[in-house]
């Protein structure tokens, strides 16, 4: 069974077509990069898979481990193992990162019929994960993303990813606007999480991230469809020819 199977996916947002029959198949253990020019539908793909309300699916199907994603609420998709690292992680004033993380972990555990973690158990788990990502303790006490630098917000998303142990991680242009240290932190998160039963979709329009995370497959998304798939050689071709020429070639 495929980890992710997307067939002929079509979607609109504000009555504008953003996905126009997209096909994508990912096996567990693989890392796929999706590249494309601005407006090609990269973020739309991430949003539609995660179930953002503004997007309307007009045709096609998407399944995660054989389960129909499109019929689930966003929280059910998350509980089923889909994780989205946001381009712009949201701030939640007054809510400590610790409470937020514990609530999320327990929500996912409850959905899987696992017992909730108490404060002590959670604390042990989060310490271990933070160590893995090289994060400082004070991170937990601060309000969710409030006053975080761009890099800290992305690191926080990586921490959430590490805690929730999803089966499919989608990183939505999570590398945009990051300095080199933050970019390395994101790469470190992804690499630490790579495993035979987990898949990744890296949505990006830079190749920088791909220097640190070697993808198995690269796709070019153009006008709402995947028009070309291949290996690292595609990156060089994009550099050389640009998306337009490559897509229409």
């Amino acid at each position: 069974m495929m980890l992710l199977e997307v067939e002929n996916l079509q979607a609109t947002v504000a009555e504008k077509d953003v996905l126009r029959g997209l096909n994508l198949t990912i096996k567990a253990g693989e890392v796929h990069a999706i590249m494309g020019p601005n407006g090609a539908g990269k973020s739309s793909l991430a949003s539609v898979l995660a179930g953002r309300e503004d997007y309307e699916v007009t045709a096609g199907s998407a399944s995660l481990n054989g389960e129909d994603l499109l019929s689930m609420d966003p929280e059910a998709r998350a509980q089923a193992g889909l994780f989205l690292a946001f381009q712009y992680p949201v701030e939640i004033p007054g809510v400590s990162n610790k409470l937020f993380l514990q609530t999320a972990v327990n929500a996912v555990r409850t959905a899987k019929d696992l017992p909730e973690l108490d404060m002590f158990e959670f604390s042990q788990l989060v310490q271990a994960k933070m160590k893995l990502l090289g994060m400082r303790q004070e991170f937990l006490e601060r309000d969710v993303n409030v006053g975080f630098s761009g890099g800290e917000k992305k690191r926080n998303d990586m921490l959430q990813m590490a805690l929730l142990e999803p089966s499919l991680c989608i990183l939505d242009e999570t590398d945009s606007g990051l300095d080199i240290d933050a970019l390395k932190a994101v790469a470190q998160g992804v690499n630490a999480m790579r495993s035979p039963d987990r898949g990744f979709v890296l949505v990006t329009h830079y190749q920088r991230l791909l220097e640190y995370v070697a993808p198995d497959v690269i796709h070019i998304l153009y006008q709402g469809r995947i028009v070309k798939s291949g290996g690292m050689e595609l990156v060089a071709q994009i550099e050389e020819l640009g998306y337009d020429a490559l897509a229409t070639a």
Partner: protein, 493 residues
């Protein structure tokens, strides 16, 4: 605090408002209507001395001359005061009415109606022997009378602390009641305070003697049970020089399809170097989706910091009532006295809340802090209305006000009306206000981490209220958080 099983036993169908059950017991209820003989009958029922009856009658006569106020940003049809009953009390089988309603701190507490005790137990309030062992003293008020006051004897004997029902205080401590009654909220203060003075039912009376730190928190639980009954409690808290007390009140009422009137008066007197912390968790029945029923919560609460360095702190979590009209205030007379107001007011469905505070600075270097958090959801309206008044004598007075409003959904409203009157140039007054939305982005972010929408909203709202909840006694903070979660049910969708 209350076990789920107990509640569900008593509840039946009503799912959101868990305190909405009705207690079936023998009650004595006056016929509907208000006139001078009703006022006299209430007084007679409570076996009151002449001075108390005079206080009531003077108030009643004055009330007749007053118009019902409608300046709050809440709409309601003029009330028919003849359509309410002004006295309702459970009858206990084992005692006659005159030995029951007024004996008070007698060696043998009169027996409590088991149905009433059961109702309180379901609300997490234990009376009798269990109550004596609890870590908090409780005055339990059911409709118009106090049915039990726990720990009252022990507190009096060991510490000289008077903690009893208002009716008992009139009987047993008349000199104290006469000295303070109406000194902070005079009978002519406003329409509802005046009505209260005329028909005052029971309330709580607290006196903390000089230099005593009350060893346990004192609390009152108000329960309105009878339909079409008004509750008009009168509470007086006095902290003598150098003393301190934490006082807590909780409220609830059954689900009824008509408005129930609650017009209470609270007077707090804080002497030099004394400190009173007054906390309220208000969960009156808010009415249903269509605005049928609910409590009209028209309350006058005021305290005076009489002595130097005295301190009064109001903390409130208001989640219930169809309409709330309430401005707990501090009159800062003593030099260096401190007034605080921390408030969370949440409105949902069609609730209307017009609440805030008044800080009147009279003494030198008096200081006040106001932190108000308003949350509006559904089709509700939530108003902060506050007055900061610095009199010419208040040299070096300071005030800090912060009003934050949070909107959930697009059909509710939040309004802020700050009034400032500064008559001394050396005063420092600061005001900050913010309005925010629980954004779809925040909800999606939480959902993407597996968190259900209700839990996400409750977490976001609790985060917003954290500053105020930190001021509540711990177990009440937990209660308040739960209440918010329950009150927010169905606020999005």
């Amino acid at each position: 605090m209350q076990t789920q099983v107990e509640i569900e036993d008593l509840l039946g169908a009503q799912s959101t408002y868990k305190e909405g059950f009705v207690t079936q017991t023998l009650v004595e209820t006056f016929a509907k209507g208000l006139n001078e003989s009703v006022v006299r009958a209430i007084s007679a029922k409570k076996n009151e001395p002449q001075w108390m009856l005079d206080f009531r009658l003077k108030a009643y006569q004055h009330w007749l001359t007053l118009p019902e106020p409608h300046w709050a940003k809440a709409t309601y049809a003029p009330l028919d005061y003849q359509d309410y009953s002004y006295y309702s009390a459970p009858q206990c089988g084992s005692c006659t009415s005159d030995s029951c309603a007024s004996t008070g701190v007698a060696p043998q507490e009169p027996e409590i109606d088991p149905e009433v005790a059961k109702a309180f137990a379901a609300l997490g309030i234990h009376l009798g022997a269990e109550g004596e062992a609890a870590e908090i003293a409780v005055d339990a008020i059911f409709d118009s009378v106090s049915v039990s006051t726990t720990k009252s004897r022990a507190l009096l004997e060991k510490y000289g602390v008077i903690f009893c029902s208002f009716s008992d205080a009139v009987q047993h401590h008349p000199e104290l009641v006469q000295k303070y009654l109406g000194t902070v909220v005079p009978h002519h203060d406003n329409f509802f305070a005046c009505l209260n003075a005329a028909v005052a039912s029971d309330g709580t009376f607290v006196y903390i003697p000089k230099g005593v730190n009350c060893p346990v928190p004192l609390s009152t639980y108000f329960r309105i049970n009878e339909a079409k009954t008004g509750q008009f409690e009168r509470t007086i808290v006095i902290a003598d020089e150098g003393s301190s007390v934490s006082y807590i009140e909780g409220c609830s009422a059954p689900v009824r399809d008509s408005y129930q009137l609650h017009a209470a008066v609270v007077e707090v007197i804080v002497h030099a170097d004394a400190e009173v912390k007054y906390s309220t968790v208000q969960n009156w029945y808010p009415g249903d989706e269509n605005c049928e029923g609910g409590i009209l919560n028209f309350v006058t609460k005021r305290g005076v910091c009489k002595g130097a360095r005295s301190k009064l702190s109001w903390t409130q979590a208001e989640t219930g009532s169809a309409i709330t009209w309430k401005y707990p205030s501090c009159v800062l007379e003593g030099d260096d006295s401190v007034g605080e107001f921390y408030s969370v007011a949440l409105t949902n469905r069609r609730q209307q809340a017009d609440t805030g505070t008044k800080m009147i600075h009279i003494g030198k270097r008096t200081k006040s802090t106001i932190i108000s958090k308003g949350i509006s959801a559904g089709k509700s309206e939530n108003v902060y209305r506050g007055l900061v008044k610095i009199l010419p004598t208040a040299e070096g007075a300071r005030n800090f006000t912060q009003c934050d409003s949070m909107l959930i959904g697009k059909t509710c409203g939040a309004h802020t009306f700050p009034y400032l009157e500064v008559q001394n140039a050396s005063a420092q007054v600061e005001h900050e206000a913010t309005t925010s939305n629980v954004g779809e982005d925040q909800l999606f972010y939480c959902a993407q981490r597996g968190i259900r929408e209700e839990d996400a909203i409750s977490m976001i709202v609790n985060g917003f209220c954290k500053e105020v909840f930190q001021k509540l006694p711990l177990e009440f903070a937990v209660e308040a958080e739960k209440l918010l979660a329950i009150s927010l049910e169905g606020s999005v969708g």
